[in-house]
Structure formats: C-alpha cells, structure tokens
Amino acid sequence: MRYHTPSSFDDAARLAAEASGVTRFLAGGTDVLVQMRAGAVLPDDLIDLKKIPGVTEIAQTGDGGWKIGVAVSGARLGAHEALVRDWPGVVEGMELVGSTQVQGRATLTGNLCNGSPAADSVPGLVAAGASVEITAPGGRRIVPVEDIPAGPGKTTLAAGEVISAILLPPRGAGGGDAYLRFIPRTEMDIAVVGCAVNLRVDGGRITEARVALGAVSPRIELVPACAEAIIGTSLDDAALDALAGAASAACNPIDDKRGTVEFRTEVAGVLAKRAARIAYARANGD
C-alpha cells in the first residue's frame, strides 16, 4: 500500500487518476480504516486529504451560504453556532454518526462518498439543496449532492475525481430543516429508516419544501411527491397524512436483518411526519 499526503486537491486528483489499483481517499478514516482492518478493502493507494490547507475550515460564502472543508469533523460541525442556527437538520444528521470518539474524526464528505444508503448526514444535505465541489485533473465543477450516491457502496464520482468542498445554500428567511432516523437502540446503530425535511414558511404556509429519505432504497433519494404533499399547506393533519403516504409510497427497501420491507415502509411515513413537524416549528422560530 502506498500512502500519499498531497498538499492540494489538484495533486490529490492527479494521484488518484494515475493510480491503477484499489484507491481510497482518507478523510476521517472511520469507514476506510474499519474496512481495512476487516480485510474488506485493502487499498493499493491511500490518499490522505488532511494535509491540504483549509480542509478543516467552515467558511461563510459571499451569498450567505456555507463552504465546509472535506475534513471537518462532526464534532466541529456541531460546535459551529452560526452553521447550526442556519442548518440544524444537516448538523443533527452528522452528529448522529457514531459515538463521541467517531465524531472527532468522521466527516460529511466521507459519509457521502462511502455510498451507504443509510448514511445519516446525506438526507439532510440533499433536503438542504447542498452541492459538492468536485476537483478532477481537468478542473472543477459543482454537482448537487443527490447526484453523488449511485447505489450501495457506489458513487457517481469517476476515478481521479475528488470532492474538494461541500456547499450549503444561503438559509434565507423562514427556513427550517430536521433529520430523524429510526434505530432499534439509541446510538451506535445503522439507520433502518432516515428522513430529512427542509422547508420554508411564509405566514404559516409552506412555500418551499424538499424531503429526502434514507435506508429505504438502494440510494438516498429526494422525493418530490413528499414536498408536493405539504407545499401550500400549514402542515395540518391532512397534509401530514399525505406526506406520510407519499414517503411510504417512495420506499423500495430490502428485507434484511435490520428491518422488514413492511416495517421500513410504514416507519418512513411516521418519520416524515415527525421530521416535518420539527422543521416546521424551526421555520416558525418556535
């Protein structure tokens, strides 16, 4: 195994593009190192991104959005008051990852690129309308987060492409977001269902909404039908029921040791309602 410590994303992309065997980037390492120890993935090239300047920074962008470095840990994210004020749902998704120890290392980027359909921070990012900046040997481009997952353990990133930052849009007025997951225990578990809701209210009415579901399909999905069910409403019972119905209808889960198809489908609706209520309250400043 070759271990690399590039000092720029261009170098990182070039190293990855030139590598021919199994290649992994190293952010927090809470997926990669575990996979290596288990013998599941034995990289030929391991490209550590943490020596690149700025990767642990969180910066406000000119338009009022946020740029989050690829090595920002969950703990740092949670300690950033202004970011938490803007995007509590995104942050709470990341903060659910692992334990205190894991929080010191684990990153949004790693969570996204590990490609798990149950990744806890990804539904929040998708619902928020976040995007990623991708650096490739040919240059940089910006891609919506929902276009990155490609199925269990897979992303749409090509060889030689590295994510160089995560971008959150400006929060604006009357916005609120929330993420909930279902696990049988209280922590250290993989989401059986995850749901993020991001919405904007104006005078009590929902004017914009994005809803994303995790762990109920091969990839984390943005579900427009869920958004439609609540846009234009003040989240009354009928709207909530329609939301739950749309969430359950969007499920295409597997039956496995972590949950049955029926259970996941039913609980997706339950979580959608509960997350929507929290997001709505946050948007109303309650």
Partner: protein, 748 residues
C-alpha cells in the same frame, strides 16, 4: 451460625475499592491478548463458510509455501478414539469429516506475524460437498430433518424419536389431569426464544506452548484454568498434569469461557512448529460465529389456576437446540421453570435437539431465562384474565423454606417470600404510568453451585496475608474473598492480597461459574483462615508455655482465653509472623472440598416501559431488581451483578438474536448488528438486596450472579403487553415484531 447472624461485622457489608481496580482503570491489567513470548508465532483459523458440509479435501500446500509459515494443523493432527464429551470438544475444536456450522474450524496455521497467518489461512484450500442444513429447533426436530449426526442420541431417547433428538427428559409428580380439572382457568400457550451470545467484551485469546516431550504451558483468558487444562489435554491426548495453565484477567465470560475453542489449536500448532509459542486472538466475528451462544427454545406451557390465584397444576414441554452437539440446557430450564411455586401436580418434558449451529456454552443461569419467559408470561396472562394482582398471585403460591421444589428436592432456607414482600414495598411499584407505558413483573430462580474448590492462605513475614484462589475474578470476587478473610482474621482489608493462581499452585478448582466463587472460595478461604488461626494460637501458647486451648483469637491477635489462662499481652499477627521462621516455620491455612450448604437465590423484577405505538420501539423507563443475596459481602458488587443480569436480559428481550440466512450463514456476526444494549439505552437499574442468610455459609452467602438474568424476558413482555395490549410470545421483541403485534392486537 446463629451467632454469625446476630454478629456485627467489621468489614463484611462494606464497600472498599476492589484490589484489581487501579490496574483495570489504568489499562495495566493484563488480559488474554496482552501476553507475548520470545519466538512467538501467531495463529489463524480457517472456518467453514457452510452450515453443513462434507470436507472432501484440504490442500495447505500454498499456505505452507508462504515465507514465515511454520505450521498447519487439521483434524489429522489430533488423536482418534475419543468418546463422549471429549469427542464433542475435539470435534468442535476442529471439524472432522463434516463442518457442522458456519464458522466451524477446519484448519489452523501459525506464522511469524498475525497478517502473515491470516494470509496463509486464506491460501488453505478446502473443498466442500455442501449438505442440507437445519437451523430452527422446530425444523430440526421434524422426522425428515437433515440428520446432523447418526448415533448421537443417548440412552434417554426412546425408540422412534426424530433423528436429531439426542436427549429426552420426562419427570414430574402429582396427578396432573386432576389438577387441571380442579382449576377455574386452564391456559396453554407456546413461546419461542432465540439464541443469544454472552457478549463479553474481551474476545477469546490464548498463548500456548507445547514441546515434543508433551509438556506445555498456556496463558489464556478463561473462567477456569483447570477446565482448560483437562479439556485441552483430553483433546490432544496428553497427560493432564503436563500442561500448566495460567489465567489472565478476564473481560467477561458469563459462562462462555468455561470451555475450550481455539486453545488446543495453539498447542497443536506449537508442537508442530518445534515448540514455539503460538498466540491466537479471535476477532469479534469469530467469537459470534464459533463460540458458545446459548440455546434457542420452543416451549409449550399449560397451567391451571383457581379464581383466587391458587395454582393447581402445571405442565411444560421444552424443545431446545444447542448447536450440532448435545448439551442444550433443557434440563436446567425445566428444573427452574416452576421452581418459585408450590404445585400439587407438575409435569416436565424436554428434548435436546441438534441443529447446524455452534455448540452452545453456558450462559448465565443456563436455560432458566427461557423457561421463565414461557411460565411467567403465561402466569401474567392468567392473572389478567382472572383480574388478579400478579405480585399477590406470586406471593400466594410462593415456595418457602422446607417446601418440596417443583423439580424434586426440598428447599433449604430460601427467601422468595421476603423478596416478593420487599418488591411490594418498593416505591417503583407506585410510580405513575403515562400513555403507552406499562409495568411488568416476573420472578426468577437459580440453584447456585458449589463445585470442587481448593484455597490456600499464607502469612507473610510482616503479618500481611496472601490468599491463593483458583477462580478468575470476573465480578469482584477478589474483594469479597479479601473481606471475608480479613474479617475472619481480624485484620485490615488492605492487609490481604488475593491472587488468582495457575494450575500448578492448587488442587483442582472448578471455574468461576454457577455463582459459586464467593460462596465456595469464600467458605474455603474462611476455613483456611481458621486453620491458620489455630496454628497462630498454638505458636502463642508455646511461647507463653500454656495450653493451646487456653488461647483465643481476637482482633487480629492471640490472647489468653480468660483469667485462668495467665496474664500475657495480646500477641499480634505481625508479631507471630515476624518470628515464625524460628517458631516452627511458615504459617498457612488450606482448605479443599466440594463445599456443602449451597443456598438458592430467588429474584423479582419490575420494569416500566414505554412503547412508541407508531414504530414499536420499546424504551425502558424504570427497572427494579430485588433479589435474595443471603448476605452481601461487598454490596456494590452484588448490585453490579443484579444490574448486569438485568441488562443482559433486556438485550435478549428486545434486540439480541442470532440471525441466519436461507443459506444457514450467520448474518450478524458483528456488534453493529448483534445488538447488545448500549449505555444510553438504559436507565440506572434500581436494586434492592434482600438478605435471608444462607446457613450453609459462614457469612450467609448465596451467590448472586445468575438469578438476575432470569426474570427480564417475561417482565418486559408483560410490561409491553400492558403498554400496548399486544402479547409477544417470541423473542426478540424488536420494533418490527412489536409494531406488527400492535397492529394485530388492534384488529383482533
């Protein structure tokens, strides 16, 4: 004994720091994997990926060609001709003609590094002929089930039983039909529990060395070094005394470390590698796939009850699989099932069934939790039907001292009634319950155990004392034994050092199992101390020139017994020890026996739960353990046992289970998916220690380690029923199951 009961204790019942505490919290304590030796090799084990397969061919040539590989062993390296449990142990250690479960060892390799050994293990080619398999106990007992082993049934199995039944049990007393006829309500229900693992934090680890001369040494994480010695030497055909076994500190065992798994492999590899020591450390996945879980059970229970709650008759039929070998604890489950109750008529039937799963090992009160799940759930259901208070019903039928137990023997002094009364008086019973909340009550029982015990104590030159015991300290037994020894000798707790010693230092000791260490080793330590006191009194008498009978021992010193004995100042233990070299030599005490006077322990648990009606998720709000300890030598460690038992039971009740795929492979061999409770899942477990002293122990100890895992399964099922109206008769009561049951209860 009566004298002991009214005596005020100086140390017994206090809570000093445990002697092994500092090492454990600073990381200095040495566990199984912490020992290395010069020239050491690392072992790795090749395991079957199939639930049931004939081993056609094993080709290790590629592995042996790898640099750094020093030995490969298969079953061909083990002696033949073993019988009975020795054969079972050998077959489980290393598969012979067939791999009998996913994870069954088929070969092992030793190399100069752990990575090299793992690489070599991957290069060992095993050709299998996959056979039909069976996992579930109800499938395994069918007449047409795949046969796991011909001729495994013992003499108890009548002609014509299905092929995987290897043991049959049938006992009882009274006129059972007359009993049911007399009842106002007779109910019969069926229950199932899944296999669970002991879930100890420390994986199995050992370092073994064996020379061509048949002499060997082993350092190992175990509950019982003599068991390791006997089993390893039996499996390898060695003389028992030629293997010396030293136990490490132990990060939990719960019964699962009372037997052998990879230990003989390290010895066999060492012998083949010219006597170089070989270390093997299991991964968590190996622990879950290949070391002993408990049995899974399928149970039918029928009970007759009068309107006032009086029990008239009971019948239990339990079917258990304990893996591909005989030994499911169906007998224990039946003995404990009705033990808390006076029953005029009772019948027990049990089947021990083979299935393609790992060989079950003991797990905390083996069998008792399953039986309790069935019986205590049904009693709760019957109390609801007859509108009876479940605690009062239990008090009405509770066994008392001198009663004949459901399984035969008469009870000695027991404290079930005191336990139930203490439960009734506890504030948790009147805590208010909100919507979607429910309270469940259940009782539980464990016999406790004595076992072969050998303990020595010796005086050091400064008057401090060392005690050598043979039972590894899992739950604070060093502290308890130091307290009892110091109490007996009249010296400070800190002056006693208790050492857990290797097999060469004492006679045979059974493991720390059966809740026996504080009872049996404590009793032996007290006897040893009394012997040393006798010798110290003799030394003082000889110095004073008086009769030894005229000397008594008080407050850590020899004193003349009364004015007629003469006037001498007390001679302290330090003074006697300081000159023992010139007064007759070393002073020690020793005791060995299978101590009689075991005292059984009953418990009663009360749990409050809240169930999310939309997700089926159960939260434990409050949990109370009330249990008879006889006497709590060190109350903190008694409470620790109560809490630990409850927590393991909570895991078993709610989420833990062995999950198999259609292919017979274990799907959840990591802690991510084998879900033991995490700390944030639990409230502080409330405890109440009841003390009805056991007259068979100098301080009244009963043993407290096991009863605590017995009531949680039914207590939680009963609480979930009250919270939701849904009665769950199958474990685990995981959210999908509870949600489905709530749906069914609403419809029906």
């Amino acid at each position: 004994m009566a004298k002991d009961e009214i005596r005020e204790f100086r140390l017994v019942g206090t809570r000093p720091d445990r002697p092994d505490g500092l090492d454990k919290v600073t990381g200095r304590a040495r566990y199984g994997a912490d020992i290395s030796a010069p020239g050491m090799l690392w072992g790795a084990v090749v395991r079957s990926p199939h639930a049931h397969a004939r081993i056609v061919r094993i080709d290790s040539s590629k592995a042996e060609a790898l640099a750094g590989v020093k030995a490969v062993v298969t079953r061909a390296d083990f002696p033949t001709g073993l019988t009975g449990e020795d054969w079972n142990l050998q077959e489980n250690t290393m598969a012979g003609e067939k791999a009998l479960y996913d994870g069954h060892a088929v070969a092992a390799v030793a190399a100069t590094s752990a990575l090299r050994a793992q690489e070599a293990a991957r290069l060992i080619e095993v050709e299998y002929e996959v056979l039909p398999h069976v996992i579930d106990v109800d499938d395994a007992i069918r007449p047409d089930a795949p046969v796991i082993r011909e001729g495994a049934a013992d003499a108890t199995v009548p002609e014509g039983m299905p092929p995987n039944v290897v043991r049959y049990i049938d006992f009882g007393r009274g006129d059972i039909e007359a009993g049911f006829a007399e009842a106002d309500l007779v109910m019969e229900r069926s229950y199932k529990t899944e296999a669970t693992h002991q879930g100890y934090i420390e994986p199995h680890a050992c370092l073994g060395q064996l020379g061509e001369d048949g002499k060997g040494e082993m350092w190992v994480c175990t509950q019982g070094q003599w068991f390791i010695r006997r089993m390893c030497t039996a499996v390898l055909g060695l003389e028992t005394s030629q293997l010396r076994v030293t136990p490490s500190e132990i990060g939990g065992g719960f019964g699962g470390k009372t037997t052998i798994f990879m230990e003989p492999l390290s010895l066999a590899l060492s012998r083949k590698a010219g006597g170089r020591p070989v270390k093997i450390v299991m991964s968590r996945s190996e622990v879950l796939r290949a070391t002993g879980p408990t049995a899974s059970a399928s149970m039918d229970v029928k009970i007759g009850m009068k309107k006032d709650g009086t029990l008239t008759a009971a019948r239990a039929e339990f079917r258990m699989q304990g893996g591909a070998f005989p030994g499911a604890p169906v007998d224990m489950a039946l003995y404990c099932a009705f033990a808390p109750y006076k029953l005029p008529a009772v019948q027990h039937i049990g089947y021990d069934v083979l299935a393609n799963r790992p060989k079950c090992a003991a797990y905390r009160a083996p069998g008792s939790p399953m039986g309790a799940f069935a019986v205590e759930s049904l009693l709760d259901e019957m109390c609801r039907e007859l509108d009876l208070d479940p605690l009062e019903m239990r008090l009405k039928n509770a066994v008392n001292t001198g009663d004949t137990s459901s399984y035969g023997p008469k009870f000695g002094t027991i404290g079930l009634i005191e336990t139930l009364e203490a439960t009734r008086a506890h504030p948790n019973l009147s805590a208010p319950l909100g919507p979607n909340q429910g309270r469940g009550i259940a009782t539980g029982y464990w016999f406790n155990h004595n076992g072969e015990t050998s303990v020595s104590m010796a005086l050091s030159e400064d008057g401090t004392v060392q005690v050598s015991i043979g039972t590894p300290d899992i739950g604070g037994s060093r502290a308890s034994i130091a307290l009892m020894t110091a109490e007996t000798l009249g010296i400070p707790y800190e002056d006693v050092r208790v050492n857990v010693v290797e097999t060469g230092a004492l006679g045979v000791n059974e493991p720390t199992h059966g809740s026996r260490a504080t009872f049996a080793c404590g009793k032996a330590a007290v006897e040893a101390a009394r012997q040393a006191i006798g010798e110290m009194c003799r030394r003082a008498a000889s110095e004073w020139g008086i009769d030894p009978e005229a000397v008594e021992w008080m407050n850590g010193a020899a004193q003349p017994a009364g004015p007629n004995a003469g006037e001498f100042p007390p001679m302290t233990i330090a003074e006697i020890a300081g000159k023992m070299g010139s007064t007759g030599g070393p002073i020690s005490g020793h005791h060995e026996s299978v101590p009689d006077g075991v005292g059984a322990s009953f418990g009663c648990h009360v749990v409050d739960v809240e169930v999310d009606p939309e997700t089926g998720r159960t939260t434990i709000l409050r949990y109370l353990v009330v249990q008879d300890a006889g006497r709590a030598i060190h109350p903190s460690y008694v409470e620790g046992q109560y809490q630990g038992g409850a927590v393991q039971g909570i895991g078993w009740a709610l989420n833990e289970a062995y999950i198999y795929g259609e292919d017979g492979r274990l799907q959840n061999s990591v802690f991510l998916d084998y879900r033991v409770p995490v700390a944030s899942d639990l409230p502080m477990i409330d405890t109440e220690i009841v003390e009805v002293p056991n007259p068979g122990h100098p301080f009244g100890v009963r043993g407290v380690g096991e009863t605590g895992i017995t009531p949680p399964l039914p207590a939680i099922a009963n609480a979930i029923h009250q919270a939701t109206g849904a009665r769950l008769r199958q474990l685990p009561m995981s959210p999908p199951r509870v949600l489905a049951a709530i749906g069914e209860a609403r419809q029906g």
